[in-house]
């Protein structure tokens, strides 16, 4: 049964929903209040688990009937044996982890496939702000100032692809989006978010 509320669902969540196979086992790293996990359970009948650092978000997840673990992504992955999950999801959380390289490789160890969603720090608005105003960009998608941002890593879609090439990670699918639409033309310039489906042999 497809959910009829799909129109209210965040666009990046819809894309991830599209990437995940039915009845699969999913680990959502940095699952926040569990909206994505709930969506996947409802629409794709996945067996899902989340990891989340924020205590208040844990309450919300449990209230939604989810299985969730309280902890940070950097250390949470070592709890799991290899290829335990069909999909490991790192949506909007990679830029906040201390050691992204290790986390991605660990995610590829415990998951057969990994879905990564990253904000594009080289969107045209950001480039304009750096070039013309001489300021570190503050945009709708990246609303933080340098002194209060939770983001530790600043990367573009191109940077991420380069990283995957360097580490022999295969990108099975790439989707670039901006607001509610896909970006096909010059995604590294016009997309706000990049979503990648990865695997490593």
């Amino acid at each position: 049964m497809e959910n009829n509320q799909t129109s209210l669902v965040r666009f990046d969540h819809q894309i991830i929903l599209d990437m995940v196979g039915r009845n699969s086992k999913v680990l959502d790293l940095g699952c926040a209040k569990g909206d994505l996990l709930s969506l996947l359970i409802r629409n794709k009948a996945v067996k899902g688990t989340g990891i989340e650092i924020d205590e208040q978000a844990i309450y919300k997840c449990i209230e939604k009937g989810l299985t969730v673990s309280h902890g940070d992504i950097d250390s949470g992955l070592m709890d799991y044996s290899s290829k335990r999950f069909d999909y490991v999801i790192l949506n909007e959380s990679l830029q906040e982890v201390l050691n992204p390289e290790k986390v991605i490789l660990e995610a590829l160890r415990v998951g057969k496939k990994v879905i990564v969603g990253i904000p594009n720090f080289c969107h045209i608005n950001a480039r304009f702000q750096i070039f013309f105003r001489g300021q570190v960009p503050v945009t709708h998608e990246l609303p933080y100032q340098w002194y209060n941002t939770p983001n530790l890593r600043f990367l573009s879609l191109k940077d991420f692809k380069n990283f995957c090439r360097l580490k022999d990670i295969t990108i099975n699918r790439t989707r670039a989006i901006s607001a509610q639409k896909e970006v096909k033309f010059l995604p590294n310039l016009f997309a706000h978010i990049g979503l990648f489906l990865l695997h490593k042999d």
């Binding site: 205590e55 449990i62 209230e63 673990s69 799991y80 335990r84």
Partner: protein, 380 residues
Amino acid sequence: MNPNNLGLVETQYFTFAEAPNELTLESGVKLGPITLAYETYGTLNKDKSNAIMIFHTLTSDAHAAGFQKDDPNPGWWDGMIGPDKAFDTNKYFVISSNVIGSCKGSTGPASINPKTGKPFGLSFPVVTIADMVLTQKKFLEHLGISKLFCAAGGSMGGLQALKWAVLYPECVGSVISIAANHRHTALQIALHEVGRQAIMSDPDWQNGDYYGKSIPARGLALSRMIGHITYMSDKSMDEKFGRKLIGKERVGFDFSHDFEVENYLKYRSDSFVKRFDANSYLYLTKSLDYFDLAEDSDLTATFKGVKASFLVISFSSDWLYPSYQSKEMIRALKANDLDVSDCEINCSYGHDAFLIEIEGQSRLISHFLNRLSKEKIYGK
């Protein structure tokens, strides 16, 4: 009466293992007859599938919720058990069982040994957490319940819940372990040993043979003071007492009490001495110190075959059963592909938090149980 309260409740007793069918304890010693004190709240459903067993702490009792006749204070977890509370008695049949070795109505060192007609004292066998669980299992069989919907408890109660899941995997649908750990650590054993030495060095202790005479009150009070400190945190103590003096402008320059915290410890330990047996304190601390779920083997292997879903709750300020230790256990559970949720609740109350912090625990527990009831009806 408040509709969220259970109203009047009464402790009941179950006696079994009468001669010649004495129970063989983990130590190999046979014991019988054995009595367990218990209370129940709510109603057992037709297919007997809504039973939750609640386990208490070191010095507590079967009276977990509601009010007993002529007692203005409710049971020790009244905030958590009752209609529309975390353990909702409109839905679940809650069983609270006292433990073997206790002095709260169950068979323990203060009970009369039927062979001698005198109190057991030190002739009572050393009991373990496994023995507590074994006796509770017999009790559950007596009630005709083959499977617990949930086994839940904090501190020593958490250890019992965990042991239930390992000893009787077919009989436990879920486990809620709060402020507990899979094994007692050197620090915990050391603190207990100081408490035991305080009791045993009291001249009135008389090798445990003090019943009907002067009790080892000073030793027991001292051990309770030590225990009580370990149940708080530096922050909660500082918030509660700070350096406040008792009824004086300045310190007395003598060894009478100056500080409020000194008075508090004396008050708490004096009231404890009136309600608890020193020998029981020795036996129950020993049972905790012997506790190691993995029994020196691999913890991951220990959980093999366990089927329960788990909710593990810890508290940021609990230094007696710190969160990082429950993380170790969670890792072993996950390695067995078990359904585990966990939360470290941020609060300053220390180990005692599980008796005080009701809101966060209630949110976690009620929704965890809710999900499992739905899964039971509709399948996973």
